[in-house]
């Protein structure tokens, strides 16, 4: 049954290296205009190398929202966006960035007192949308365009669902191959768009070099995560959440290879020395749902208190260059398309279920926590079905609670506690049955 005392998660120390990279990226971004760089707003999938190849700066909307929330500066921009008509039920990433963009364009109202990060966002010279599995994303960028008076060039890469039609499965089949070709054609057009915005021919040499870096970082991350198939796990889902930045908006940023190598080395060292992420691992949990960025430490310690390690998740393990071997740095567009098409949000239900079952088996999962983000229903659309089928097919029990990505007003702590504790008690009862 649930323990009564508080315990702390043993988080990876090398995780802090990411902070240095994030700070460098941010300094570069806020000074971009001063150094003559164009700024591109992006949402959705990690496409930074396209802009980096042209020496342009980019702001990834969700990454930015997560950073503002991680610094606990999200309330003021969210309030401003709501005051301007962006309803509380809309994507909280979008509301956060919209508020920040409006601070930049309209100025800060007297009754709000936002933090420094929330007011430093530079205005965009272009917008590139690259959203899988979400219809809010393109509308978010449409709204950004309107905030800036519809003067911003905008390119929308459409990532079609991989539904699994006519026997098409994960990275296989006619539907998959057609989708890859469709996305590659759009990337070719995106390159032409960026040539116009930047005013110079696309720098293929630099792009290929950056995609070589992306492949290395992606591979290191996947190898490090796979070391956590060991029992007890040397690192947890909450460590991997911290490591999203180097494979998301920091993709191919200088220093990401070294940072991810350090993470892998630390995980290997822990494994060699029998050091675990949770001091007394009794249960292994799968986190299903998008991450809640302002609750990372809180959640990590909460599960540690229950002697439970969250070892894997759809968010961390099924996206962000999770298929690095498909990337050919000499001809990178196909590999980028594959990673983006086969990401966690873009798969039809049968493929999602198959991937989750595979991960649950590989990581010896005892239970699943379904986090239904209140303002990201596209992520939680299959939760009930997944809960039912993983229980029927694998005997895995689960619990679900509602929260959010970056709006913590949707959390009610005791409701979350009860649901997690009930799962732990249920798993204990299951173990006692043998």
């Amino acid at each position: 049954m649930a323990v009564q005392e508080a315990k702390r998660a043993n988080r990876l120390k090398s995780g802090k290296l990411v902070n240095k990279l994030v700070n460098e990226y941010w300094e570069d971004l806020i000074n971009a205009k001063k150094t003559g760089k164009k700024v591109v707003y992006t949402t959705g999938l990690p496409i930074g190398p396209f802009m980096a190849a042209q020496d342009m700066a980019w702001i990834h909307g969700e990454g930015y929202g997560a950073r503002v929330a991680a610094r606990h500066e999200e309330k003021e921009p969210q309030t401003f966006a709501e005051n301007k008509g962006f309803n509380r039920e809309l994507c909280s990433y979008a509301r956060t960035q919209m508020g920040c963009a409006m601070f930049a364009e309209l100025g800060v109202p007297d009754d709000l007192n936002p933090g420094p990060i929330a007011t430093e966002i530079p205005a965009p010279d272009a917008i590139v949308t690259c959203y899988p599995g979400c219809s809010t994303g393109p509308q978010w960028d449409w709204a950004i365009e309107r905030v800036f008076g519809k003067k911003i060039p905008w390119f929308n890469v459409v990532i079609p669902y991989h539904m699994g039609r006519n026997g098409s499965t994960y990275m296989k089949g006619e539907e998959f191959e057609e989708n890859v070709k469709y996305v590659v054609r759009q990337f070719e057009d995106l390159i032409k768009f960026l040539e116009v915005v930047s005013g110079k021919p696309f720098n293929w040499d630099k792009f290929q070099e950056l995609m070589g870096v992306t492949k290395k970082v992606g591979k290191l991350r996947m190898e490090a995560m796979e070391l956590c198939k060991a029992k007890p796990a040397p690192a947890s889902f909450f460590d991997w959440s911290i490591q999203i930045a180097p494979v998301n908006y920091l993709t191919a940023w200088p220093g990401t290879v070294e940072a991810m190598q350090a993470v892998k080395d630390e995980v290997q060292e822990r494994l060699d020395n029998g050091v675990s992420a949770v001091p007394n691992e009794k249960y292994r949990i799968f986190w299903e749902g998008i991450m809640n960025w302002n609750k990372l430490g809180w959640m990590a310690d909460k599960f540690a208190s229950y002697d439970a390690t969250v070892v894997a998740g759809r968010y961390t393990h099924m996206a962000f260059w999770h298929e690095p071997d498909t990337i050919d740095p000499e001809h990178p567009l196909r590999g980028i398309a594959i990673n983006h098409l086969e990401c966690q949000l873009n798969l039809g239900y049968p493929i999602t279920e198959e991937r989750m079952m595979t991960l649950s088996k590989d990581y010896s999962i005892d239970g699943i926590v379904f986090h239904g983000a209140r303002t990201c229903r596209s992520f939680s659309r299959s939760h009930f079905l997944l809960a039912e089928n993983l229980n029927k097919k694998m005997g895995i029990q689960s619990t679900s609670f509602e929260g959010d990505m970056v709006d913590d007003s949707f959390y009610k702590e005791e409701l979350v506690n009860t649901r997690i504790e009930a799962l732990i008690e249920s798993l204990e009862a299951q173990k006692s049955r043998g």
Binding site: M1, A2, Q4, G372, F384, A387, E388, N391, K392, Q397, T399, S400, F401, E402, K412, E414, L415, T418, R419, E421, A422, E425, S426, A429, Q430, S432, R433
Partner: protein, 302 residues
């Protein structure tokens, strides 16, 4: 306190600090219910919990020091200082339901803030469970709000709804939106009994979804304050196509389960103390020690 060999003077208590009510159950060493109490004052009211404890003790003719061990459950479970352990309502309802009806396989609990479905194994442990994800839709709070909107006593809504043969649909299960929908239905001229019947059907439809996630197996028991609403019980029976067993006092099942867990813990501790005593006796000759309290089981109440 000392323990009689027949267990009749060994008492444990379960306390359910629920979102709307406080409940306490005291059982003896033979796991027989000695007394119980249910009090309602306000949301997760500590005062209601203490009143329930005091009343249960008074009915049993006991004082707090007579209780060997206490387990708490419910939303306020962590705030009860006299509890040695706390457990969620899921475990406690499963245990309590199994005690009253050992064959039970599915427990439906509609409480003040949560609704849950629990698959129970033959030992009274959780096999599987499903809960509402967060909001109070379809819970006791939902019924309270709508009863108030219709100006009907909560205790009357069950019987009243059975008088209806209309088929009114309430589409929203959000408490706030449902209130608006009820106001709209009243304005359209629908009768109170028809609206109440529609409410119960709406809750039953939602519960069917939770039951489906766990997989319903008969026999089914319903616990929590919702089980006292005969209109809701009948609507659920119709929707699920099963007969539902309702215990005599459905609101105390969580506290009863907690009391049974308390008995398990206390018995375990008592057994351990006795084993240690036996070991000590076998190791060293007994010494006369006037201040020794070895025979008094001072069980940890913190």
């Amino acid at each position: 306190m000392t323990s009689k060999s027949d267990g009749s003077s060994f008492y444990t208590m379960g306390v359910d600090s629920g979102s709307l009510t406080g409940k306490a159950v005291i059982i003896d060493g033979n796991r027989r219910i000695v007394s119980h109490s249910v009090k309602q004052l306000g949301f997760v009211s500590q005062k209601a919990v203490m009143m329930a404890i005091d009343e249960a003790l008074e009915k049993a003719g006991l004082v707090l020091d007579d209780i060997a061990y206490t387990v708490s459950t419910g939303y306020g479970r962590k705030r009860l200082e006299i509890a040695g352990k706390n457990l969620t309502e899921i475990s406690c309802h499963a245990k309590g339901a199994n005690y009253l009806y050992p064959e039970v396989k599915t427990v439906i609990d509609i409480g003040g803030q949560d609704s849950k479905v629990i698959a129970v194994d033959p030992s009274g442990n959780i096999k599987n469970f499903a809960m509402n994800d967060k909001c109070a839709a379809g819970t006791g709070q939902f019924l309270e709000v709508l009863a108030r909107a219709l100006d009907v006593e909560l205790t009357e809504i069950g019987e009243l709804s059975l008088q209806s043969d209309a088929d009114i649909k309430i589409s929203s299960m959000c408490t706030t939106f449902a209130e608006s929908e009820v106001i709209s239905l009243v304005a359209e001229g629908h009768s109170t009994v028809d609206i109440l019947s529609g409410m119960h059907k709406a809750i039953s439809g939602r519960m069917k979804g939770l039951v489906g996630r766990v997989g319903m197996q008969s026999p089914v028991m319903m616990t929590g304050g919702g089980a006292k609403n005969i209109g809701l019980v009948k609507a659920l029976e119709k929707t699920l196509g099963v007969s539902i067993f309702i215990p005599e006092e459905p609101q105390i099942i969580g506290a009863l389960g907690a009391a049974l867990f308390a008995n398990d813990f206390a018995t375990g501790i008592r057994k351990k103390v006795e084993e240690e005593q036996d070991l000590d006796k076998s190791r060293a000759p007994a010494k006369d020690c006037g201040s020794c309290s070895v025979q008094n089981y001072q069980l940890n109440k913190n």
